[in-house]
Each structure stands twice: as structure tokens, then as C-alpha cells.
Symmetry: C2
DNA sequence: TTTGGATTATTAACGGTGTTAAGTATATTT
DNA sequence: AAATATACTTAACACCGTTAATAATCCAAA
């Protein structure tokens, strides 16, 4: 039955068209300009057709959020060449900050907006795989540090939560304009890196008894 | 001219009615159910009347966001009785977490949503006073700790940024359902407190050379 | 006291949003 | 060729923030 196969391919093709159009709107006009109607306009279908390929808007946003994680992974391409886990940890944090500030719309979707998580709730595989993988890499690196006595030993989950929260806190406060009014623009990124380095240096146990 | 006075009072009265109605909608039905039309319904005026008392919706949300800071201050009512600044710092962090998790809608408005900050941009007094005051108290307490050699000395701004970011990071990730999928519900709050305590204990210099 | 101007409020409308029910074409199978 | 399943569209629902034009009200001066 080649026909069924072809139909499935066509279905996937249109799904891709929808996601491509969403992406185009997203990167060119920002989050709030991604609307079902605009997507439909771009792919030259009626708005309701979109609903034949996606359950709702949240599901589309979930897919965009996944693309965000892909883009984030690119920032960490060279990260795994770093053998020293403590250096890697530092770089990981700086990359995270860098990614967030350079791609605020993606960051928003990945870590701030509720929409993608709401989509997750209605999906069959309802684990947040992307987040799990990303956090997993942080935990691994942290564990490596502990194994090599570079970081004071402790509960990896607690420490990972602290590190992630710290960088997420900074990036999200920056993105949502909470630092702008309190910290001078030019000092912001340096201060964020100082805070991160301070945390990691405090954890550092190399050269301590 | 008592008439002008009375008119001003009436104006303030309706402004208050609008804010009260917004608040009612906000606490009873959540952020996304605060709409100009619903506010107008509640106070039994037409939607456009609202615009005679507030520039736009952002300005209303800004006022709600201020009420959030008031509510937060209540959490810290007994905080200033604590003489030991390090203990105060701990309590301050726990209160922050507590407030955020118990009042997610307020927290959202105060530290996540862009709307209130956008209102600020169009205002004459365009400093984020509430945020400044709150951060100021953190810095003060931190400075007290350093003065009493309870915390390793360093740049207060950097350390304050780190502490605030850590707790904000945890609360906002929790509120936006990023922890739910990664941490068991019942472990969440304990883990958040552990992370905070770990950070503060790491900073603690009492009993160290 | 009546007229005129300012203030306050309303109606109607613009241009959007996500989403659903019902109907129409198209393509495939019987 | 007829019946059925698939793909798509039209029309509509129920909202949203906001503005322009209009009506009603109130106060002050003539």
C-alpha cells in the first residue's frame, strides 16, 4: 500500500510546513506574533486546517520549545571536549547565560512560558525529556567534579538545583526587565558572570583541606 | 472651592473601585481573567470608562503588582525582630520561597510578567521602587553579616544578585512547572530549602579561619 | 435662570485572538 | 458509478485591548 505511505508523508509535510511557518513568525516577529491565523496565512491554508495537524496552539509552542533546546545544544557543541569537569561546569553556566540573553524568545518558551508544559500534560509521553536531558548533563558534570574531589561532596540533586536556579534566576530576571532598573546595563552581564563564578568558586574544593 | 476637592475624591473613589475589582478578579480567578471588560462589568461601568482612570491595562497591573509587594512585606513582618543578621538572612530566603509558592499569581506579576515593567517605562517616576526597596533590604542584611564577620566578605551587589537569583530561579521554575516533571512533588519544597541553606551555609564564615 | 463649556460616560467599531460545528469538496475504496 | 472516508473551508462563538465619535451630565459665567 504505497498510497497510505504517501499520505503519511504528505501529512508530515504539512506538519513541517506549519512548524516552519511558526518558527518564521517566532524568530522574525517574536512570541506574541505567533498566532494560528498568521501561521495559516503563511502556509496558505485556512486557520482551521492547522487543527487537523495539531491539537491546539500549545502543541505547536511545545514543538518550538523543543527547537529551542536544539539551538541551546549548539551552544554546547564544543563543551564536551573540555576534560576538566570544573572548567566544563564554568563554561556550561556561561553558555547558558549567553544563550538566554542572545535568544530571549526561545529562552522564554523553554523556561518561562507555561504553554509548552501545558501541552506536555495532554501528551502520551508526558515527561519533560528536554529538561531532563539538560539537567542530566549538569548533574553528570557535577558528579564528575565530586568524584575528582574538585567540588565539596554533597547531594547532587540539591547542588544541581542550586546552580540551575541561580543561572535561570539571573537570565529570567534580566529577560523580564527586573535588572534593568536596578543594575546599569553595561554592568549586567559582567555581574551575572561574577555571581556565577562566585558560586562555583565557593563550591570549589581544589586547594582546600 | 470644595467642588474641585469633592471631584478629586470621586475620581480617586472610582480609581479605587477599579483596582478593587481588578484585585477581586485577580485573586478569585487568576491573572488571565483580569480583563478590562470584566472589571467594567464588576463596577457597572462601560469598558471605556476604565480608560478615563488608567492609561491602559498595564497601569492597572502595575498597581496590582504593588499590592503584591505589600502582601510580601506582611510575610516579613516579624523578620526585623531577628537580631542575628545571618539568621535573618535565612529567614528572609525562606519567607521569599513561602510567599512565592503560596501566592503564585502575585509572584508572577511581581517578578515574571513584563506588563508591570512596561507600565513603569511610561510613568514619570520610572524607577522600580518596590524592587529597589526589597533588594535594598537583602543588601543591608548581607552587609550586616559581613560587618559581623558572619559571611565571607565580597561585593555585596554580586552576592545579593546571587541570592536573589537563586531563590527567584527556584520559585519561578516551580511556578512555571519546570520542577514538577523533574522533582517529586513532595520533595520540592524541602529541596528548595536545602538548596537555599546550602548556599547560605557555604557563605557562612563563622567558625572558619 | 439660562446658556455654554468642560467633564464624564457611553455606543459602536476596529482589528485582533483561540477554537468548534457544520458543510463542502476531493480522493479512495467498494 | 456509487458509497465512503479524508481533507479542507466557511461561518460562527466568545472573547480581548483600545480608540473615535457621541451623548449625557455638571458647573460656572452671563
Amino acid at each position: 500500500m504505497g498510497i497510505v505511505e504517501r499520505k503519511e508523508k504528505q501529512k508530515l509535510e504539512i506538519r513541517k510546513q506549519i512548524l516552519d511557518a511558526s518558527m518564521k513568525l517566532f524568530v522574525e516577529q517574536g512570541f506574541e506574533n505567533v498566532s494560528i491565523r498568521k501561521i495559516a496565512d503563511l502556509i496558505e491554508y485556512s486557520p482551521t486546517t492547522v487543527y487537523l495537524y495539531f491539537k491546539d496552539k500549545n502543541e505547536i509552542l511545545f514543538n518550538l520549545h523543543e527547537l529551542g533546546f536544539q539551538k541551546m545544544a549548539e551552544y554546547n557543541n564544543t563543551l564536551w571536549d573540555i576534560k576538566n569537569p570544573l572548567v566544563r561546569l564554568h563554561q556550561m553556566g556561561e553558555n547558558y547565560i549567553q544563550f538566554g540573553l542572545q535568544n530571549p524568545e526561545f529562552y522564554d518558551l523553554m523556561f518561562i512560558q507555561s504553554a509548552p508544559m501545558e501541552a506536555l500534560d495532554t501528551m502520551v509521553e508526558c515527561d519533560w525529556k528536554s529538561g531532563d536531558v539538560a539537567l542530566g548533563k549538569l548533574k553528570e558534570t557535577l558528579q564528575d567534579c565530586m568524584d575528582m574531589n574538585m567540588v565539596v561532596k554533597g547531594d547532587v540533586n540539591v547542588l544541581a538545583m542550586a546552580i540551575w536556579s541561580l543561572v535561570h534566576g539571573m537570565v529570567s530576571l534580566a529577560i523580564r526587565h527586573r535588572f534593568e532598573k536596578l543594575v546599569e546595563e553595561k554592568n549586567m552581564i559582567p555581574m551575572m558572570k561574577l555571581s556565577l563564578n562566585w558560586l562555583l568558586n565557593t563550591m570549589d574544593s581544589t586547594g582546600k583541606k
